[in-house]
Amino acid sequence: MSKATDRTPTDWGGPAMDRRLRRRYAAERRFRLIGLGAILLSAGFLVLLLATMVANGARGFTRTEVRLDIDFAKSALFLDPATLGSANGRAALAGADIQGVVQKAAEAQYGAEGARLLSDTAWLKVVGAIDGDPSLLTRTATIWLPASSPIDIAGKGKGDPEAERIHRRLAAREAVRTRFNSDFLSSGDATDPAAVGIWGAFAGSLLTMLVTLALAFPVGVLSAVYLEEYAPRNRWTDLIEVSINNLAAVPSIIFGLLGLAVFLNTMHLPRSAPLVGGLTLALMTMPVIVIAGRNAIKSVPPSIRDAALGIGASRIQVAYHHVLPLALPGILTGTIIGMARALGETAPLLMIGMRAFITSPPGGIAEPATVLPVQIFLWSDEVSRGFVEKTSAAIIVLLVFLLAMNGVAIYLRNKFERRW
């Protein structure tokens, strides 16, 4: 007792105090600077990444086109413009040697190398043009056709000297132009980098994600509700909890092997299909949703459960009327983390055959398809230089897909979030 009264009074203004204060403020400043530096560093890397992607990928969305004048009247096509609309006319058009006509026209206009200026599939554009306007057959038409890959790259300033020279000559004749490549967004994979499109992989990703969400979300949420609200606490539920946590950490390629063994070899589901991809990714996503869901359900205040139980709500009513709506924002956050991971997943899909070369977009979940990350992986592996920018463009599409998905989830989360 006496000790407390005997001690000398604290000198709040003394030099020792001043020193201590200065040290404290310095420590605080240091910490703030380190934090700020860390954030600036990561933001810098993010900007660098996005800038590189956009700089490389933006060119993937454009293409170089070469002007070609075709005198259809003089070409030996024997097509009657009047019948082209009918089924017979279409058959005749399909059978006509448009490819030869285009090749001859190109050689006539640009010399012996003329045919090499155009993309391998350029003549399909001509077929489309005739189909759209049969009157072309009676006159000389000017059509802009996609350039072959070397000319395309030269048009974007990265070609080899030979192609650059040709491109300069074409430019002098005003026979080349650069346009937005809408075909990139609407067609599937191809062997010619000038003709590839991302739509096949995009549709495959979309279908796969839908299957994943349709399976993983309900099963994950219901498991979380059961484990939190109903399951007794004992050794078995502990075991299940540990298993779920371990499942969330299992490398994704293992899930691919599981999908291969179970869905393809045992259940004989169609190979390379979004159905199997979705099933496999759902197995991978579900533990993430269960863990996030359980945490969200745990964080609902027990007083709300008491309130509902106290006026005679049954346990299922408590869960569905009160706990689940309040936990939904947290569950959605977990779901989006899981789905984002599934969207970017390549390895397990390689195992179940989704790396096949597929030129047409899938018409359903049971048809062969590929997905965006696998498409990126495949293109990045190509030797042809034209694929470099296509790879970057595909990455941009993947990132936009991801951002759109996250945007929807954030919107839903804010919609369901309740203020206390």
């Binding site: 007794p232 008491d306 309130a307 106290g310 006026i311 709500a313 309740r418 206390w420």
Partner: protein
């Protein structure tokens, strides 16, 4: 269970005193109730009657088990996995722990108001209408509107909220929230209302309003209130039970408990010597 009852009765015979815990035609009756949390006994052999027309107050120091005992009266302790109740609790003569008793219906008949106001994060209307809706009371919107208005009026909240029934119940002040919780409890037309320290989170003015409300609700509902505030127990209750260390020390008329306690420990607590 019968063994339990025999023990109680024999214990009563040994004590050979008129048991003040017995009142004629009680609404609820607890006989030899013990509550265990795992191996720990939280309530030890409590027998008590809750009167139909009475406000019954449970007082005692923190951790004496009065809230635990209150929660056995509508089986809220069922939600705690380790809790175990022995003995018999009757509502109108029926054992509420019998296998035939539906716990959902029981909790509608024995409503509860909690220590911390806990309205649902929904509109004021939905807060009150939720109970009647899940129990199928009030067919149609019109009847439900009637129940909501009547309940809010009885809880003394109608005049304050009638123009903003669609606003969130959590936007009200603490005292209003607690009255909303009382309205929510009486909306399902219970027979008993259990209140677990309903005013401990409220300021004196809100507390006064709740106490007034308890006065008005008396007679219509049997009310059991747990309180730390002895003045409150003296003001609102007709009968008071004093709990200490999980045991029921003394139970009787409130006036008698506060002016002339029979047992030394009750006197010590009431005069503030411990607790």
């Amino acid at each position: 269970m019968t063994l339990m009852i025999d023990q109680i009765q024999s214990a009563g015979a040994i004590a050979a005193r008129p048991d003040p815990a017995q009142i004629p035609a009680p609404k609820m009756r607890a006989i030899g109730v013990s509550v265990w949390y795992g191996d720990k006994r939280a309530i030890d052999d409590v027998s008590i009657d809750v009167g139909r027309e009475h406000v019954t107050a449970f007082i005692g120091p923190s951790g004496c088990g009065k809230s635990t005992f209150l929660r056995t009266l509508n089986r809220m302790n069922d939600t705690i996995p380790s809790a175990r109740v022995t003995g018999r609790i009757e509502l109108d003569g029926d054992d509420i722990y019998a296998s035939g008793m539906d716990v959902v219906q029981l909790r509608a008949r024995v409503g509860m108001v909690f220590q911390k106001p806990n309205p649902f994060p929904k509109s004021i209307y939905e807060n009150v209408a939720y109970g009647p809706r899940i129990h199928g009371l009030g067919a149609g919107r019109h009847e439900l509107d009637g129940i909501v208005e009547r309940s809010l009026r009885r809880a003394g909240l109608w005049e304050e909220v009638k123009d903003r029934l669609t606003e969130s119940g959590t936007a009200l002040s603490g005292g209003q929230q607690q009255r909303l919780c009382i309205a929510r409890a009486i909306a399902v037309d219970p027979e008993v209302i259990l209140m677990d320290e309903p005013c401990s989170a409220l300021d004196p003015i809100a507390t006064a309003k709740i106490e007034e409300l308890i006065h008005e609700l008396r007679g219509r509902y049997a009310i059991v209130i747990v309180t730390h505030n002895m003045q409150q127990a003296a003001r609102v209750s007709q009968r008071t039970a004093f709990f200490h260390l999980g045991e029921l020390i003394e139970y009787g008329e409130t006036s008698q408990i506060f002016t002339n306690p029979r047992i030394e420990r009750t006197k010590d607590y009431i005069t503030g010597r411990y607790g």
